[in-house]
Amino acid sequence: MKADNTTIRVCMGTGGIAAGGAEVLDAFKKELHLAGIKANVEKNCSMHKVGCRGLCAKDVLVDVIINDKKTTYQFIKSEMVPKIVKEHIIEKTPVKDWVVGEDYHAFHEKQFKVVLSDCGVIDPEDIGSYIRVKGYEAAKKVLTSLKPGDVIETIKSSGLRGRGGAGFPTGVKWEIARKQDSKQKYLICNADEGDPGAFMDRSVIEGNPHAVIEGMMIGAYAIGADKGYVYIRAEYPLAVERLKNALSDARKNGFIGKGILGTKFTFDIKVKLGAGAFVCGEETALIASIEGQRGMPRAKPPFPVYSGLWGKPTVINNVETLANVPCIIRNGARWFASFGTEKSKGTKVFALTGKIKNSGLIEVPMGIPLREIIYDIGGGTESGKALKAVQTGGPSGGCIPAAMLDTPVDFESLAKVGSIVGSGGMVVLDEDNCMVNMAQYFLQFTQMESCGKCVPCRIGTKRLLEILDRITKGKGKEGDIELLEKLSSDIKAASLCGLGQTAPNPVLSTIKYFRHEYEAHLQGKCPAAVCKELLTYYVLEKFCNGCGACMRACPAKAITGEKKKPHFIDSSICIKCGACFDVCKFKAVAKE
């Protein structure tokens, strides 16, 4: 009898691990051992961890593949493993109740995976696993049969643009660097993914670190650099660990180091950890940080590609940009350019989060309507409540209102509606979110992260935040909205770097589309019932059965009432913490 070929894949990205991925993998090891199946020892059964596969909301996701027939399970916990091993792996009947449903397939249907094609399939801690999916073949092709000029031409004609936010054509950047007459040049991979609500780069590095290394090799060869750096956030411990592990494996296998693959090409990569400063995602600030200084940006020009790290020509590319490179070399520029729109080629990875049902990591062709991302892939809002807006581009971006969901998602179209693609964060907001509060949230962030070098950003964002603070507290004055607009346009025009130039965007775009919410706040009302100072909590007597749960939960002792009779909230004592609202099972506590 022919033995069955069994592969078990357990999702172990940050999301998978938080949901108990490591315990699930251990449980499989234990159960298979008990069943007398030697996984990872015998050829016929392999079991490994994989990086993020997208739908983190359903973690832990597990694939069981028997003779090429794949079954995917969702919400798996370690105690569920014995049943899967017994019924599926031994008796060959999948455990139907735990298998993913329609929505899992719908989530994937409209996606197209280039950068993420191997994420969630290969073992990120095993270089052999990457090599088996044609890993490092692009680098081999480049080093042994292409001239640097050919590589640059290929990237240029593919139309690849930087995925970090600005969207500068990658091939053009490389070409300028190539032309610089300097013995020493550097290639830096920018993995300082600081936008809150974004995790594309983390997932790529956690799921397929070698693709980034291979992209860096190709880029370094094209521009003539022999040293590379990956500047990565220290807040991503798992990504750092997998990257370091991948670099050491690549070095052992001769993909980086001296005389790579028998050629004269020499290239090595160092990892530099960020220390928690958002502004270091800006390239001149990032360079200052690698040099060991305060990470403050400087005026451009000169651009880093002329004078960068230690005054030498330096190319800085984003993680996702670099991970695209091996795919373009392997499949050709024309293949890549066949996806996307006229000016935005290829695909883009987005982190779809917030009030969305299928939150997770997605990759779509550029130009896809936002509506398809939200409803077909994302499955609509989590609560079923009305969608209010989609925030894209993090603190530098804007909010796109529900009425404009047909906007195509590409660099030009999003800019036209006052937002940006940015690095790829996409936060869904429903009717329970207050837009003034959102603007205030982002301004708190940018004001805190402003490095303080230039006055418009340092003082301007502070003033913006003060105005927003008073509006959310019901102390706004007439003319505040106009003042916000005026101040915003001044800050945009006069700030030194991208942080200040884009910091007012969340304010401007929320005023543009949700001016009525600002006006309501000036009248002392928060329509979404979010801004604490503007709320009153009260008991709806017809629903209250006097269970006393709210009274016990109230930290301010503001609730009184007899057993089995409607309770009462004394608004002069109430601290508006919302504990009563949360604890009431009968929807008898209301706020407005």
Partner: protein, 160 residues
């Protein structure tokens, strides 16, 4: 302490690191940057202590006061914000009796810190307790966890 400092210095020289990586090593070994440690390196490397502090105060990762045995990190990213991270933080402050400007409990058992975003947005809201990520955190579950840690008081912390 001297021994640890010597070791950090040696590694620093070998790897040709910069001030930031040196400060990160000190922080990782002691949990914060003490004046004594910084002054020691200042003398050894002939770099003014003001430069060390100038760099360190720029980055939010560095701490200048000793931190508690258990480190609780609350994610304040956008996804966590829209899913109510602020409420969780307020709940934690109350449970740990921390005032608005305090982040470490008087008995040095707990430190509550905020972080911009840990990039685990699809399982928001996220709280990290002693390096372990807890996703889709609910207030009651979280407080239970803290109470368990409190009952272990005096035990070995794993915060750093």
């Amino acid at each position: 302490m001297e021994k640890t400092l010597e070791k950090i210095l040696e590694e620093h020289r070998e790897s040709e690191g910069n001030i930031i990586s040196l400060l990160q090593d000190i922080e990782n070994s002691f949990g914060y940057l003490s004046e004594d440690a910084v002054n020691w390196f200042s003398k050894k490397l002939d770099i003014p202590a003001s430069r060390f502090f100038g760099v360190a105060t720029f980055y939010s990762q560095f701490h200048f006061k000793p931190r508690g045995k258990n480190i609780i990190t609350a994610c304040c990213g956008t996804a966590c914000h829209v899913k109510g991270s602020e409420r969780l933080i307020n709940g934690l402050r109350k449970e740990l009796s921390l005032s608005d400007d305090e982040d470490t409990t008087k008995d040095m058992e707990f430190t509550l810190e905020k972080v911009n975003c840990v990039g685990a947005c699809s399982i928001a809201p996220v709280i990290i307790i002693n390096k372990k990520i807890h996703g889709k955190t609910a207030s009651d579950k979280l407080l239970k966890e803290i109470k368990t840690l409190k009952s272990l008081k005096g035990g070995k912390g794993e915060g750093r």
